[in-house]
Assembly symmetry: C2
Homo-oligomer: 456 residues x 2
């Protein structure tokens, strides 16, 4: 994709008003504006000025009231990602737009359609971060008694992704004719019923929207469990992961890239982009002060609740200055399994108390935290990038807008000087930014599908 | 709302590339651009220049393959309304944004959340057009064997609207505190579980988004059947209807306004806005030529299919130049019952053949068609407005962008001269444009709800 050698991919992960659990208390955080579009317009303009590949938004479907004492101290209102990214499509030109949408409480037809729509309206810049929902509080908002067990969630997710990509394919690229003279709007031999009948879904199709400019909007996944890795190897084009150490990240990278061949895919067909939480100072001392300031702002109940929720285990009955209590076996955890293991290992490795652990992870939430001068930040990104641990990074600013401004003004120029990152967008679609092939429709010449008219 | 006496409300109903079934063949229709955001940005700017109360978008969840011979002649790809309106929120300032979302194949939590999000991001300009889905083709895209019968659809719709408005209320207006100093982000006594358990849904709540700026985004409905009218009297703030004659429209207007009192509502709490399909010429002859041109462009299979779909009865086996065949009894129609009756009456009243009827309704699809000079158009709007038939109109341009340009450049100034329509927006929210009160939260001081923390 570039004449300058292999380039790093960067996502701008907007968690509002910052990734740190106490970000909203930061003196520079725009906490009063977090429901206002103008705030996001400015963030998006900054990210696009920084030539990021994409803006990335997380999502969830509940206010968790599991830890009521933390409720009043934490941010529980944010724009719905799809609404927000659609709005930002109208005021940006090149940057990709990645929205998280769960497969657990949605319908594939709606999901296929809204991503296709965003892809059309943005000129080929949409990406879908596929997740499963694992909290009881979410289940209770969708007329369910409890959430799905881990394996069922992944079975449903696999079928869901298959239906969505099938619907994106249901119009071949050449289906639109739009000949005013003859009165032919579309070639009905190139619009196909999907006729999907599976364990979870029965979806007739076709989609009521033409094939997206990217063929398929880019598919992102985040699971790092065994089921998650296998699903990613089969269907993902970007993986967003959380690793603390180079060795772990390298092992994951080669594991997942090694699984691609069995699905007829090449290592370049999937980009691995671990999350990175950067605290940037013009000097090492300034970075350290910034880190300490955020730690001091954490209300204790919010820290304990965050940690409890990340490991799916209630820590509130235990002394906050004592060690982690005996935790369940990994196989009994019905939540993010890899995050559970990672945090347990981290506490053991560094001998942390509950308070020590939540202070340690209250920003990056299990992702890699790096801090220091712009050169030092760039060194740390370059190290992972050059040693088979990452194709790029999802950047998680501690607070907004300041944390993003720092990265764009101080770190991006350093990466560009090193020839590691683009100085201008070369393509127009997110696939082009990421160096991903445009997929063919499964209903093309070699496809198995029937035309809609003949299948009635 | 105005010092100039009672003002008309106007919606700009964008059906792309126009309301006429052959609009896409019109020489001036932007048929190649119908998936491009720039096209819609220009339309929205025109509507806002015309001081319309709102942009209105219809929706559906299937390519209907019921009439395969029509498939190739008609437009089956359009942006998903919510994606599109969210994008337009970023490039407009005042105009309302009304999206159609069905209660039949959606979840109330998602619907409440995305309208709340759009309302925040647009500064109080969102509206929800509540519809039920009644086609077999839609059911088959959502893992259902068949669609719901009429009464069940309305039962589900009533409960759906109740859950959505409850979720909008689940944060009281004063719930957000955002005090950086004390570390209190929200007042958890003012964030409430909904604990809804009904026939169709069990939804715990609260919503994970603060109360919308409008309290509730404006609720629009379109049903004109007995169940539709009753649901509207209970829950709607705008009704979008289809009437051919002044007498029918007056009867409907007084019927529905008369039902409001039993729900503790006043006549001003609900605005009735029939659809109007205007063909505007600088002279009567020019208007007539425009109408005839569109009629000539209708491919016969598309005309027959449109009519069949509007009356939920397949007309393709019958001679196109013969009369309508014997149709089912109204009680056996599982589709839009009022539209069925309206078209049957119209064919009888005007003695139309199948071809005559589809040529007659291929633009307005059962709504009122008016044509002529700008003065004549304004006369016809004014007559209904002044004689108790309408509080305003949903304007349905035959083709786009030309049909909207004509209305804004020629008809709006005429309405303004007559003191019937605003010359500038006076408020900032859609409720203010429409003259609707901002609803109180059901969980306010007199409300029955428990605070989230104490309800654990």
């Amino acid at each position: 994709m570039s004449v300058h050698g292999k380039q790093m991919r960067l996502g701008a992960f907007f968690m509002i008003p910052g990734h740190h659990v106490a970000a909203w208390r930061h003196p520079e955080a725009a906490s009063a504006d977090l429901m206002k579009l103008d705030f996001y317009k400015k963030l998006a303009a900054t990210a696009e000025r920084g030539k990021f590949d994409m803006i990335f938004l997380a999502d969830g479907y509940a206010v968790s009231e599991k830890f009521p004492s933390a409720l009043r101290h934490t941010v529980h209102t944010r724009p719905e990602p799809f609404t927000l990214l659609s709005a930002l499509a109208a005021v940006t030109e090149r940057i990709g737009l990645a929205a998280t949408v769960s497969t657990t409480y949605n319908e594939p037809f709606h999901v296929a359609r809204k991503f296709a729509s965003l892809d059309h309206l943005s000129g080929g810049r949409a990406a879908w971060n596929v997740v499963t929902s694992n909290s009881e509080a979410e289940a209770l908002n969708f007329s369910k008694d409890r959430h799905l067990q881990h394996d069922l969630r992944y079975g449903r997710a696999r079928e869901f992704v298959d239906v969505v990509t099938g619907l994106w394919d249901s119009w071949e690229d050449e289906a639109l004719v739009v000949d005013k003279e003859t009165g032919i709007f579309l070639d009905s031999d190139k619009v196909h019923a999907l006729d999907h009948k599976g364990e979870w879904f029965a979806v007739r199709g076709p989609l009521n929207i033409a094939r997206p400019p990217q063929g398929h909007p880019v598919v992102i996944q985040a699971g790092s469990s065994e089921s998650g890795k296998e699903l990613a190897a089969e269907t993902a084009e970007v993986i967003f992961t959380a690793w603390q150490t180079l060795a772990e990240a390298q092992a994951f990278y080669s594991d997942v890239k090694g699984r691609l061949a069995r699905y007829g895919r090449s290592p370049d067909d999937l980009k691995i982009m671990p999350g990175v939480y950067p605290i940037i100072g013009r000097t090492e001392e300034e970075a350290e002060e910034k880190r300490e300031l955020l730690r001091e702002l954490i209300p204790e109940p919010a820290g304990v609740a965050l940690l409890s929720s990340l490991i799916s285990f209630d820590l509130s009955p235990y002394p906050v200055d004592g060690p982690l209590p005996e935790l369940p076996q990994l196989k009994d955890v019905n939540g993010g399994k890899s995050r559970f293991q990672l945090l347990k290992d981290l506490a053991e490795r560094e001998g942390l108390t509950i308070r020590g652990l939540y202070r340690r992870i209250a920003g990056a939430r299990g992702h890699r935290e790096i801090h220091g001068t712009p050169e030092r930040i760039a060194d740390q990104l370059e190290e992972w990038f050059r040693s088979g641990a990452a194709d790029g990074f999802n950047i998680m600013p501690p607070f907004l807008p300041g944390g993003l401004d720092d990265f764009v003004e101080l770190v991006v120029p350093e990466l560009q000087r090193r020839g590691l990152f683009r100085t201008e967008y070369e393509g127009t679609t997110l696939r082009e930014h990421l160096g991903l092939r445009r997929p063919l429709s499964r209903f093309g010449k070699q496809g198995q599908g029937q035309a809609l008219v003949s299948s009635q």
